[in-house]
């Protein structure tokens, strides 16, 4: 029993064993909102005259990036909180945020490629925006490698918090790059597009409504619900580790 008192368990048993009702409700709401968002972009939003139906993927593409920056932003805050308070729960939140952000950034990248194929006539081009988005994803892949390379759990949490904070600079760069690199062909959805952007479009009121709706779903509901679920798994596995240590002690 002695190890139990010395190494406090990460979560009290009640909070992690039963599925929190709020999370289930939120998940259902999010699922409904996501479907509504999809229906809106498929049927409600007006057809783009020049690009046709393929433009509709833009609603997901942009929203997924917004969601990724939110989830990754959560990990920055969680990283700072970990370095300050040293409570492992903050590191688990940071990890969850980064995994969810990583998935959303991939969604952003893939939907972008699908869009680019007919519009730019290529799956991929070495445009500054695309390159920086790819590098941003690689930075977070490096984060996972760093984590895997550190055995001591305390060191792992500390160093990944630091790297998670540093890594966010690439998110910021990806966001601002079409505003500072005039040679990009990537259109800006928010604010004026660069001069030589190819595939930009004006938003009609139905399109604007669809974009706003999806933005909210993808940047508020989806990341938070996914992070919460991911965090729950992480908490449970931490608890398993703790119990294992207790068993090993006996």
């Amino acid at each position: 029993m002695s190890a139990v008192t010395q190494a406090p368990l990460p979560v009290s048993s009640t909070s992690s064993q039963s599925r929190p009702a709020l999370l289930v409700i939120l998940t259902v709401i999010t699922a409904i909102l996501t479907v509504v968002g999809l229906l809106m972009l498929l049927f409600y939003a007006g057809l783009d005259v020049t690009q046709g139906d393929v433009q509709r993927i833009f609603y997901i593409h942009v929203s997924a990036f917004a969601g990724a920056s939110v989830a990754l932003g959560v990990s920055v805050v969680a990283g700072i909180m970990y370095l300050w308070k040293r409570n492992p729960k903050w590191d688990r939140l940071a990890l969850s945020g980064i995994e969810v952000g990583f998935a959303l950034a991939l969604t952003n990248l893939i939907t972008g490629m699908v869009w680019a194929r007919p519009i730019w006539n290529t799956w991929w081009t070495w445009d500054p925006r695309l390159t920086s988005a790819a590098i941003m994803i690689l930075t977070y892949a490096a984060y996972f490698m760093l984590r895997a390379g550190i055995e001591n759990p305390e060191t792992r949490r500390r160093l990944s918090s630091v790297y998670g904070i540093l890594a966010y600079t690439t998110v910021i760069v990806t966001f601002v790059i079409i505003r500072i690199r005039p040679d990009t062909i990537h259109p800006a959805v928010i604010g004026p597009s660069p001069q030589n952007a190819e595939g930009g479009f004006e938003l009609s009121s139905s399109m604007l409504a669809t974009m706003s709706f999806n933005m909210i779903v993808w940047s508020v509901f989806i990341p938070w619900v996914l992070i919460w679920w991911r965090l729950r798994i992480e908490n449970l596995s931490e608890r398993v580790n703790a119990l294992r240590a207790v068993v090993a002690e006996k």
Partner: protein, 236 residues
């Protein structure tokens, strides 16, 4: 109030506790030998007392300063000899000491004088201007002892300082420790060597799985008796 005080000191790596709720007081001027099998937590305890490692829980007070909050104040009072020599290969013995003098903000002239004296004491005066790279393991060990004493620390933390020393080196080290005792320094030495332990210390602690199992004055012991107690307390 004791010079070194720990209360409920605990250090875990992951969920593996290495030091378990250790409460310990060491008075000024004591020379404590810390014995224990490998993995009993000796090094971990020394690293925590030296401020290199943060406790998982519990408290440490050294000279009234609290660790890790007031670490800078504590660091100035501690001299440490660790497993590794903590020297720079491409600097000479003198340059190494000079560098440490600067790190501790010592007056250059004073630090030079004391450095020379210490090199004399550890028997390295003739090799003072040779690169540390060319030193044997034992010589490096002796130099690292000189390094630890350079800033005249109140407390010496020695982690198996006899390792790598030959008979002469070990005797030299014992003399140095006795000398430091004479100057009123407090010593905490982790060691495997029973004879050195009883020779230079005033108190013997045996650490087993992160807890102190024996705490006795060294005056009542000799190496043979200590070995017997050790064998009895420490499961193989």
């Amino acid at each position: 109030m004791a010079l070194i005080e720990t209360e409920d000191l605990t250090k875990s790596f992951g969920y593996m506790p290495v030091i378990k709720r250790l409460t310990l007081g060491i008075e000024r001027g004591e020379a404590v030998a810390l014995l224990g099998a490998n993995g009993s937590g000796k090094s971990t305890l020394l690293r925590m007392l030296s401020s290199l490692s943060k406790p998982t829980s519990g408290s440490i007070r050294i000279g009234g300063w609290e660790l890790p909050r007031e670490a800078a104040a504590v660091r100035a009072q501690i001299g440490m000899v660790a497993h590794k020599p903590l020297l720079y290969d491409n600097l000479t013995a003198v340059e190494n000491l000079q560098f440490f003098g600067r790190l501790y903000n010592l007056d250059p002239a004073k630090s030079k004088q004391r450095g020379g004296l210490l090199l004399e004491q550890v028997g390295l005066a003739r090799r003072a201007n040779d690169l540390v790279r060319t030193f044997s393991r034992g010589m490096q060990q002796r130099l690292s002892i000189a390094r630890a004493m350079l800033h005249e620390p109140d407390i010496l933390l020695l982690d198996e300082p006899h390792t790598g020393l030959d008979q002469r080196g070990a005797a030299l080290l014992d003399d140095l420790i006795m000398g430091a005792r004479g100057e009123g320094r407090t010593i905490l030495m982790a060691t495997h060597e029973f004879d050195h332990a009883v020779q230079v210390s005033t108190r013997v602690l045996i650490l087993e799985r992160g807890s102190v199992v024996i705490d006795q004055p060294a005056a009542e012991m000799d190496a043979v008796r200590l070995a017997a107690i050790f064998a009895e307390q420490v499961s193989a």
